[in-house]
């Protein structure tokens, strides 16, 4: 397969502009309780039912670190091939807002728990490494609800204090496509690790996107703008494209870019200034005196490392080596832990080549159409394996298999039951087949003559007729053999 070339530049009459993107991804840690309190973290609970005295910042309340969240952050760091900092510090980020009860967010500023790492993307133009600058733990804020009453803002503190991992990339991304790939890759890694469910609808994964542009070939970065809180991959791609074009337009008309924070208006597909650099908050970070510096033993990290599950990159490599998959196929199959698990279950009892095709082509089409997760697939791995074995053994043809599969999708039934009930078993008795073939040839004596005088295209016509009569059940391999034989005479 020929590799495509990277080609995302903002092209104008005068220039070609390269787009530089860096991402700050906020990923909600999978944890029963919050980062510094024992409150529950369930999504969708009634407002203010998962709030402790600590989360609502009552006088004299103190944070106590949730060790599970630290573990989750370290695991994620290991999944990003990152340096784990054995000494890190929690800082206070001070600002006033109604949904920030303490008036500060506990975060990590200069000494994050995870340092530099990297993530590998598989792009059509080859693999590309994206640097990770850092990963730190921080508390989420509550939620302000402005549209319930014309006169009041309501505050829901259920989210207040929930643990987030902020994963900061280096400015290594160059296109909306790469961003798409990067976010999906992060999500895959975290789902494999069980550290973040990556559910963007529920806000478990959101990102601040930094965008700047520079003329193709230039080395110096341009001034960047930060687009805050974008909560879907599609919107990230749109926002980047729009923002890059806005910047190019400004620069080409002789203006300059102001460093600022912007918001993405999804309805109008435009970014708007939120606050300039001058108006930027002074967060007055300082180490939280209520918490001691976080010290982690190397043995603790080693132990987590030892028990890490197989990660997507490793799994992909194994699939390619062991099952002779193409990198593309392997990629598709490892993109979700559940998919790879499904695949591995199917091939326990069925042909690998057929299995990968059936999953990637037929099953994915059905799941996509129905909007289902592979975990909710109406066709179980065992049933799919049975279907594949029915093909391999010649019990049914590939074509009939598709029919059986359709019924399996509807009913969830086991394929043999369907084959039996619907009488779809392949006609493989040579004598029976010969009868059908002779019938077709007799009925079309003129065409047989034409064929014999050189019109070989008619071969397909005969096959079609034979299949029609056998309701598609005739074993194609045998039909071929017998038909060729008969036509020779």
């Amino acid at each position: 397969m020929e590799k495509e070339k990277f080609d995302y530049y903002i092209k104008t009459e005068k220039n070609s502009w390269e787009v530089i993107i860096g991402l700050e991804v906020h990923a909600q840690v999978i944890s029963q309780s919050k980062l510094f309190s024992g409150s529950a973290t369930k999504f969708g609970a009634k407002p203010n039912t998962q709030v402790s005295l600590v989360d609502s910042a009552f006088p004299g309340m103190l944070p106590v670190i949730n060790q599970h969240c630290i573990e989750q952050a370290i695991k994620t760091g290991l999944g990003l091939n990152a340096k784990i900092n054995l000494h890190s510090i929690f800082d206070r980020k001070n600002y006033f807002y109604a949904d920030l009860p303490a008036g500060y967010q506990i975060s990590q500023y200069k000494n994050p728990v995870v340092g530099e790492g990297e993530v590998t993307l598989d792009m059509p133009y080859g693999s590309k490494k994206i640097g990770i600058e850092r990963l730190h733990l921080e508390q989420d804020a509550g939620k302000s609800i402005h549209d319930l009453s014309p006169d009041n803002t309501f505050v829901d503190l259920n989210r207040s204090g929930i643990a987030l991992m902020e994963i900061v990339s280096k400015p290594d991304l160059r296109s909306p496509n790469e961003v798409n790939s990067y976010v999906k890759k992060l999500r895959t890694i975290m789902r494999y690790l069980g550290t973040c469910d990556g559910n963007m609808q529920e806000g478990s994964l959101r990102a601040d996107v930094n965008v700047s542009v520079r003329k193709k070939g230039e080395k110096k970065f341009g001034t960047r703008c930060e687009i805050k809180n974008v909560n879907s991959i599609k919107f990230m791609e749109m926002a980047i494209d729009t923002e890059a074009k806005r910047q190019v337009e400004l620069l080409e008309s002789g203006k300059s870019i102001k460093q600022e924070t912007r918001l993405f208006d999804t309805k109008r597909n435009e970014t708007r200034s939120m606050r300039s650099k001058e108006e930027a908050h002074d967060y007055r970070y300082f180490p939280d005196p209520d918490l001691l510096p976080l010290k982690i033993e190397q043995s603790f990290v080693d132990n987590l490392k030892k028990n890490l599950p197989e990660l997507p990159d490793q799994k992909k490599e194994r699939f390619i080596k062991k099952f002779k998959l193409t990198p593309y196929e392997a990629n598709v199959l490892v993109s979700e832990a559940a998919t790879s698990k499904y695949f591995e279950e199917v091939i326990k009892n069925a042909d690998i080549k057929l299995a990968k095709n059936w999953i990637i082509v037929e099953l994915f089409a059905v799941l996509n159409k129905k909007g289902l997760d592979i975990k909710e697939s109406p066709v179980s791995p065992i049933n799919l394996a049975s279907l594949i074995n029915a093909i391999s053994s010649g019990e049914i043809s590939g074509k009939i298999a598709k029919k059986v599969f359709e019924i399996m999708v509807q009913s969830g039934d086991e394929p043999h039951k369907i084959i039996k009930e619907k009488g779809l078993k392949q006609q493989s008795d040579p004598k029976e087949l010969e009868k059908i073939i002779l019938k077709v040839l007799n009925n079309n004596a003129d065409k047989v003559l034409e064929y014999k005088s050189g019109k070989e295209k008619l071969y397909g016509f005969f096959i079609g007729e034979i299949m029609k009569i056998s309701s598609g059940k005739a074993n194609p391999k045998l039909v071929n053999e017998i038909l060729k034989e008969k036509l020779k005479k």
Binding site: V64, N94, F96, P101, R284, F286, P289
Partner: protein, 485 residues
């Protein structure tokens, strides 16, 4: 019935344990005293009905084996008390009733103590004279025109005036030891982390520490024992076995090496304090202790360091008082920002605002390195000074304060001179080590003066023993009349 105004906490405990007196009788006695003592304004809140109910209950079904069986106690209004208003001396918490009990007060109740009420203090414990309280200044029982010191001024005043047999305060830069010194009582600031901070309204988290305030050293040991202990809700709490300070109390200090830091001989120190210090040294020598001259070279930076670190933390700690969730909310203002501004503008007093401003400033970008970061470095040097000394000595003896109690209003318009009052106490907080102040004499106007004994971290027993020994030899007597009754 014994004269309870002459009885120590330990004596009262003994009387109750031996059934010579009931909890109800003791409680009634102190309630009577409190009712007659309104002029001192040492209480913000009283809860007599509850106290009497609990005392009666104790006398019938209470557990006599606790450290403080049926003993009524008033506490500084910085400790959150379940169902009882807790104000921190501020308008912004004027009507705040916690649904929870601080760990330290809870420890007291578990040992059998009964709450009498909540004691006045400087607003959010910011002050050295108890004059910044929204609920009015507290008067020193020594004389009607004297401040009791601060910020635990209400506690010191109530203790000296016999409104409570003992009490607890908090000490961020001297807030227990300075008022103890001003009122002729004993006050101890424990090692940082010995007493839980959970449920105490925070001023400066890395410095705040609760401690006992009592009439004598024996009581101090007993109360410290009752209130201290590891708490998993406070990440800075020290996880160690509880000690029996009162049982192990001893006057034997023979052979202990006591350091005398030359840097504490500050300019303009009154002759009387100089003499008092000398007297303390002589007493120690007589008890067999060895006196050693030491140097704590960074002492002069302690006060400026403190006045960067403490306000920085306070500016952040006090951000939660925004009128959104609890406490005072201004009715003025058209939007959220104006509501914040009005609430905080009306809810906080001048001294609190001053410290929020200073704290916000020293943490601001562009100033952080020059102020906060540098202060943290100096703090480390101050701690190193102590660490170095304690390799060769057991404890340090200094005066508790550079002056005796001053007059009401004398320093209110001069914050710097007010801050200077903490010059001998602040280094101890910065280093996180324990210190005790004991009454050691009077100045020529009859105002009490205190001496301070400092040790390295977790050697409370040692300073208690030294103080216990000195107390016997000093035999300090309060000399005031109950003029307010």
């Amino acid at each position: 019935m014994p004269d309870l105004n002459q009885s120590s906490l330990s004596e009262i405990v003994k009387l109750i344990k031996t059934k010579k007196i009931s909890s109800l009788e003791v409680t009634n006695h102190f309630i009577k005293n409190i009712k007659k003592g309104k002029k001192l304004n040492s209480f913000i809140t009283t809860c007599f009905d509850e106290s009497l109910k609990k005392a009666k209950y104790f006398d019938t079904k209470g557990n006599i084996d606790g450290l403080l069986p049926g003993v009524p106690l008033a506490v500084k209004d910085l400790f959150c008390t379940k169902g009882i208003k807790t104000t921190a001396g501020s308008k912004i918490l004027e009507n705040f009733i916690p649904t929870y009990e601080s760990t330290v007060t809870n420890n007291l109740w578990k040992e059998g103590a009964i709450l009498l009420g909540k004691l006045n203090c400087d607003e959010f414990a910011m002050g050295s004279s108890n004059e910044t309280s929204y609920f009015g200044k507290t008067i020193n029982p020594i004389a009607k025109d004297l401040v009791p010191g601060g910020s635990s001024g209400g506690s010191a005043s109530a203790l000296a005036a016999n409104f409570t047999p003992a009490t607890i305060g908090t000490d961020t830069g001297g807030s227990i030891r300075q008022p103890a010194s001003f009122t002729g009582t004993v006050g101890l600031k424990p090692t940082y982390g010995l007493c839980s901070r959970w449920g105490i309204v925070a001023f400066a988290s890395s410095l705040d520490q609760a401690g006992p305030m009592t009439k004598n050293v024996e009581d101090c040991a007993l109360l410290l024992e009752a209130m201290s202990g590891y708490d998993q809700n406070d990440s800075t709490s020290i996880n160690k076995k509880k000690e029996s300070y009162s049982k192990n109390l001893s006057t034997n200090i023979k052979g202990l090496k006591i350091g005398i830091p030359k840097e504490y001989r500050v300019e303009n120190m009154p002759k009387e304090i100089e003499n008092l210090w000398g007297k303390g040294i002589d007493i120690l020598k007589k008890s067999g202790a060895k006196i050693v001259d030491i140097t704590l070279p960074h002492t002069k930076y302690a006060l400026p360091t403190y006045y960067i670190v403490a306000p920085a933390e306070a500016s952040s700690n006090l951000a939660r008082y925004d009128g959104v969730k609890y406490g005072y909310r201004s009715k003025k203002g058209k939007n959220l920002i104006e509501m914040y501004e009005n609430t905080r503008g009306e809810g906080f007093g001048d001294e609190v605002k001053r410290r929020i401003l200073i704290g916000t400033y020293v943490l601001s970008s562009g100033y952080y390195d020059a102020y906060y970061l540098k202060a943290q470095k100096v703090r480390k040097l101050i701690k190193n000074d102590f660490d170095k000394c304690f390799r060769n000595i057991d404890a340090i003896l200094t005066p508790s304060t550079p002056s005796s109690a001053f007059k009401v209003g004398e320093k209110t318009n001069d914050p710097i001179s007010m801050y200077l009052n903490d010059i001998f106490t602040v280094p101890v907080n910065l280093a996180g080590i324990p210190a005790i102040s004991i009454p050691a004499g009077h100045d020529n106007q009859g105002r009490p003066l205190g001496l301070q004994v400092i040790s390295k971290a977790l050697e409370e027993q040692k300073i208690l023993n030294i103080a216990f020994s000195m107390e016997k030899d000093i035999s300090f007597k309060q000399s005031f009349k109950r003029w307010w009754e």
